[in-house]
Chain length 244, copies 2
Amino acid sequence: MSGDAGPLVRKLESIVELAPEEREGLRTLPLTIRDLRPQQDIVHEGDRPTQSCLVLEGFALRYKLVGGHRRQILAFHIPGEIPDLQSLHLKTMDHSLATLTAARIGFIQHRALHDLMARHPRLTGVFWRETLIDAAIFREWMVGLGRRRAPARIAHFFCEMFVRLDAIGLAKDRVIRLPVTQEELGDALGLSAVHTNRSLQELRSQNLFTFEGGRLVINDWEGLKRAADFDPLYLHQGSGGDAP
Amino acid sequence: MSGDAGPLVRKLESIVELAPEEREGLRTLPLTIRDLRPQQDIVHEGDRPTQSCLVLEGFALRYKLVGGHRRQILAFHIPGEIPDLQSLHLKTMDHSLATLTAARIGFIQHRALHDLMARHPRLTGVFWRETLIDAAIFREWMVGLGRRRAPARIAHFFCEMFVRLDAIGLAKDRVIRLPVTQEELGDALGLSAVHTNRSLQELRSQNLFTFEGGRLVINDWEGLKRAADFDPLYLHQGSGGDAP
DNA sequence: CGCCCACTTGAACGTGTTCAAACGTCGTGG
DNA sequence: CCACGACGTTTGAACACGTTCAAGTGGGCG
């Protein structure tokens, strides 16, 4: 079954302009679409995939386990992103990929991606760039994990998700869908669930945002940015990408 | 002045096999060579470089400052690596690059790299892959920063540096040059210098290694790996890259 | 109604930080 | 040759941030 890679085109065009043939090439990428349930593994550490996954709807995440039961979430992925694009050139997965929410995922054979890039060499740079932005986000998270205290880490994460979702049109007037439990937040930010909870309370007392029921509402963008020490430069969204 | 990109070829060939023309193309890359002193900034956050840096001799590091004086070191780079290859596609630097030790650095114009890849399309994948391994190392560091305690973080770092240096022939019988102060170690691992010192003592009492005078000697590789929970898979060195 | 799950709270504990001072080595200059 | 300063390392003590364990709350859904 083949489907619509629209979200991919929208995501890429939020940064670079595409030629009509390139857009067409992307749109007609042979996709195998599957609807997955929440918390379902897609690719596992050690696998050697022959395809990559395009998030069409919902959220995905990448993680690594250490010591068997401690989990570090490495990234959250939103519609239009290809979380395991790196498997194009790194044959073995060094981490796992799973859905966060129910999600519609499009699977693309590596061969199809290589063919597409051979036909439209400029797209190579576009995809490469996507993986570089991925790495830039890792770097920023490293700074958070290593050098920011819990409340700032949380605030920073909220800023990032808002800017990213806004860039693809999924922020509606200061509100985004962010269906992340406090435990997942902790696993992403290197915190225990308990401390995540307490740090959230501390932030809530400042009325910077409302975070409940999987929705994040920004009440005070400037204040949140300040609490987070947030500078969107690392997201490399041409404009500078500042929002509300 | 032009010079020898030998270390680059050696580094790339430690993973993929290159065709003679490709090797030749790499060797004749127009390089501007400069000898830099220790702790010298090369590119700064916010810059928009038109060239990338190849480490020929010595060590380089990438870092980010937060709150003005707290530093997170993001990566250490060894001969043959191009620390800011990402600037090929991300125009603005989101972090800084500096020397760790005295170092010989070759500067390569982006144009020259683009031309080379246009002539030898397979090299595009090779360079892309380098940036993907970079990202894989970031991911592993995130796990350390978020989920490992201080001694394991240090042990893990030692394992990684040993394997990487060994892969390019810079490990001599269980010994590597690792000219990193305890403060720099802390900045890389998200620790204070004091706690780094105490954790090092704890590790020393296990006789896994000797670390002094900028040299690391591995006494018990298996023991060190165990203490670090180290699995070299994430370095993506074809063979599996296990050493002493 | 009852269960599950996420969130919340409390209390004790532990890892890591901060501040301050001292030690040793090495290179410089008197 | 020795004094001095710089720098990295080491130590101590008080403190803070974050963890762990355990129990309790509350809403949603079968």
